[in-house]
Amino acid sequence: MDVPDYGTVLDALLAIREGVDETLTLRCSCRSHICGSCVMKINHRSALACKTKLQAAQERAGSGHPIVVQPAGNMPVIKDLVVDLEGLWSKVRAVDPYLQPTGPVPEREYIVSNEAMLNVREATACILCGACMSECTVLEVDDRFLGPAPLAKAWRFTEDPRDGADRARLEALSQPGGVWDCTHCFQCVEVCPKDVRPMDRILELRRRAMAEGFTDNNGSRHSQAFVDSIGSTGWLDETRVAMRSTAGLRELRGWVGVGWRSFVRGKVPLRHRPIPGAMHVRAIFQRAAANDPPRQVRRREQ
């Protein structure tokens, strides 16, 4: 095929479709990574075909090896490179993805700082292409997880000073399938073609949800136990953290087997000794807490 050196994987696929096999089926439209149609796996990694240079894809595949193109992951295949995106759309719908202002509607625009808008803007760059959904390690095992893009969308509203529904949003996002189901694996950050960093948004949502008091979940308990352990002894008391992270005795029962087998093999330390400088660590905790900058950009300036 004759594809120019600036050519993309999309150019190559279109050349194939137009010149070799007209049945080759793939979604594509803008050719300039703004419409989000052409997400697929290229050399086993989710990407926009229009943003992937053919040369780079060839380098990654290794010379002499074909560039491998597959439909996006975690979604049922309809035909060739076209997958069923209904999961993505339904999860976007599930986060109430629209501004919910409270209070009187101003005659003119809401007065908010440019910094606040720039902050939100980073996530509004999301084009809902689904690359993150395709690569998400949690969605691979559980399609009830909301997933990176919908959660980044939710973040965008909780950060928007014009939105008045953050508490309700954060409460909903603290439920199973929400922010605490993310494994922190960076796959979404890695493949996002728009640098939205969905995982970072999810982690911020966790922080905000805890700050708003939505802590009756294992995620919050784990986070608190973890932080407490470092704060008091300088390092991690795994056993205590594990025990404090669970919801109660019933859940703890599920851990008895592992606990016992680990104990037998000498893997459960009997004593957790603080590090020598634990008091210094504690002091840093206190000073950092006092120094934690208030959320400057969030609140609407009255």
């Binding site: 979604r27 803008c30 703004i34 309809i78 003119r108 625009e109 939105d163």
Partner: protein, 558 residues
């Protein structure tokens, strides 16, 4: 399968979604049909911003005047007045819906300069304003619960016995199933027809489906010869470098490093209107002062920080497709087909001459852009006239009695599609499409003349004949894109002929339409719109006068 609605909207870009929301708000049952998911629509690609006279030092009259002047006096001034008057409220509404517009130090909406504007009245979200707006409208669509048929392709309009439009026929792309939607009013909002040209800045979906459907149903296409060539497109793949680059202060340089706009537009320089800048560039290139068929766009003097904050997507595009980092290098650019000012003729309510049929956005011609559209007026047009069309269609639907279904039409359309699928192996549609696109670019480009236009017309007529032997390379039902692309090519050939007919008819130079053989604007004869009516033998041309309210045509100086 068949569905009944008060209002059916075809197209889910900004105009379509805004229209649907307006119609629903007016109490109608509404459905949207789109050949892609709403957020994939080409409204995404508008980078620079959206115009409105919001600033106290600005006025809607000034915005309207700039638009009239930009249109080279071909825009209908009653429509332009409405556009400019309703712009501020439209921006505020978008802001209230959640658009993250850039702000000034006081936290108010911040604006930037744009071509052809006498005031900094372009409101923006970085350099992805269109995407930001499209996604916010989509959010509103989700909230509204409006029925959305994504990845459904509309093939034709349905008429009542009395000639009123009463729905549409189409195809569920995913299942291959034929569908019919019955509606008391239909709004076409299918966007542009950029793929008639090759290359074009337009997305691959911009095949003018709505224009062609309306044209075949009897609605006239207006001013189709007015095709905008954007001054800054990349040579490699035709990708667009937004006008916001020039809005932020970019220079255009020729081979000798001269800012050649000095000769053409000594005041506005790079920010003269698009037709003026594109012509100046083409002259530099034609007269040997270009660089490899291009001129240079230079933003280096803005500094890395400003480039990164204001033009991040543009820099990424140039890096990717031109191998040039705008922070350190100038980028080679040239004029490229970008926008169709013409379209389905509508009044200021979006109503076409066909009862029951409305249109809004790029597929329509109100006309607010006349012979040349100003940057950042297109997004504005979509929301202002999208809303107006939605309201008007809702009012029409409310007054109209129940619409009779005609299930036999669905069978007829099915038969036609099956015949198309059953054609024996013949010409590949892609080859014919390329040929059409290149003919249009070469012969119906920035500079035009009778001789080459006639040659293009003859070539297109011949291609029309050859189209009868085009075959569909995929015989399956599920996601048959080959079938869709043949249907699109069919539409585009009609539109290409309409563009050439308009270009031949208009024997003057105005705005984007430059006739080498008629180099002057001819106000005495051509303060008129061209109208193309579909006939089996090709377009039949008529003209009608431009609406002038307060600005008499004068010489255009930037």
């Amino acid at each position: 399968m068949a569905e009944d609605y008060d209002v059916l909207v075809v197209g889910a870009g900004l105009a379509g979604m805004r229209a649907a929301l307006a119609a629903q708000q007016a109490g109608c049952t509404v459905a949207i049909v789109s050949k892609v998911y709403p957020v994939r629509s080409h409204s995404n690609a508008a980078q620079g911003g959206i115009n409105a006279a919001l600033d106290e030092a600005d006025s809607w009259e000034s915005h309207a005047y700039d638009t009239v002047k930009g249109s080279d006096y071909l825009g209908d001034q009653d429509a332009i007045e409405l556009l400019a008057r309703e712009a501020p409220a439209a921006i505020i509404e978008l802001e209230h819906m959640g658009v993250v517009f850039s702000r000034d130090e006081q936290g108010r909406l911040g604006s930037r300069n744009f071509g052809g504007a006498s005031h900094a009245r372009t409101y923006f979200v970085g350099d992805f304003t269109g995407q930001a707006l499209l996604h916010v409208l989509y959010e509103q669509l989700v909230r509204s619960g409006i029925m959305t048929f994504s990845e459904h392709f509309v093939t034709r309009l349905v008429h009542d016995d009395d000639g009123r439009v009463s729905g549409a026929l189409g195809l569920d792309m995913r299942s291959g199933e034929r569908r019919m939607w019955t509606a008391k009013a239909v709004i076409l909002a299918t966007g542009g027809m950029g793929r008639v040209y090759e290359p074009s800045t337009n997305a691959l979906i911009c095949t003018g489906d709505g224009m062609a459907i309306a044209y075949r149903a009897g609605a006239p296409l207006m001013d189709m010869e007015m095709v905008q060539f954007h001054p800054t497109t990349l040579k490699s793949n035709g990708a667009l470098i937004s006008e916001s680059a020039r809005g932020e202060g970019a220079y255009l340089l020729n081979r000798d490093g001269e800012r050649f706009m000095q000769t053409t537009a000594p005041h506005a320089m790079e920010l003269a209107s698009r037709d003026v800048v594109s012509r100046a560039e083409q002259i530099e290139i034609n007269e040997g002062r270009g660089v490899d068929g291009c001129v240079l766009l230079d933003v280096r003097h803005l500094g890395a920080a400003k480039i990164m904050e204001r033009l991040p997507q543009i820099r990424a595009l140039a890096l990717e497709f031109a191998g040039a980092d705008m922070i350190t290098d100038p980028v080679p650019i040239r004029p490229g087909m970008h926008y169709e000012m013409g379209g389905i003729k509508t009044d200021v309510h979006g109503a076409t001459p066909l009862p029951g049929l409305f249109a809004a956005g790029e597929c329509a011609c109100v006309s607010v852009h006349g012979a040349n559209r100003l940057g950042a007026n297109s997004l504005l047009e979509t929301v202002v006239f999208g809303r107006r069309a939605g309201e008007a269609a809702a009012a029409y639907a409310t007054e109209r009695g129940p619409v009779r279904r005609s299930p036999s039409l669905l069978d007829d359309e099915s038969r036609l599609l099956n015949l198309l699928l059953a054609r024996p192996d013949g010409i590949r549609p892609a080859a014919l499409r390329q040929e059409m696109g290149q003919t249009m670019t070469v012969d119906v480009g920035v500079f035009r003349q009778a001789e080459t236009l006639r040659a293009a017309q003859a070539a297109l007529v011949e291609m029309r004949e050859r189209f009868a032997r085009v075959s569909v390379g995929d015989k399956g039902r599920v996601f048959n894109q080959a079938l869709v692309s043949v249907l699109e090519l069919d539409f585009m050939l009609d539109l290409a002929l309409a563009v050439v007919a308009g270009a031949l008819a208009r024997e003057e130079s105005r705005g984007a339409h430059t006739r080498v053989d008629f180099p002057r604007r001819d106000d005495a004869h051509w303060m008129r719109h061209t109208l193309a009516f579909h006939t089996p033998g090709g377009p039949r041309m008529e003209t009608m006068p431009v609406a002038v309210t307060r600005w008499q045509p004068t010489e255009r100086v930037y």
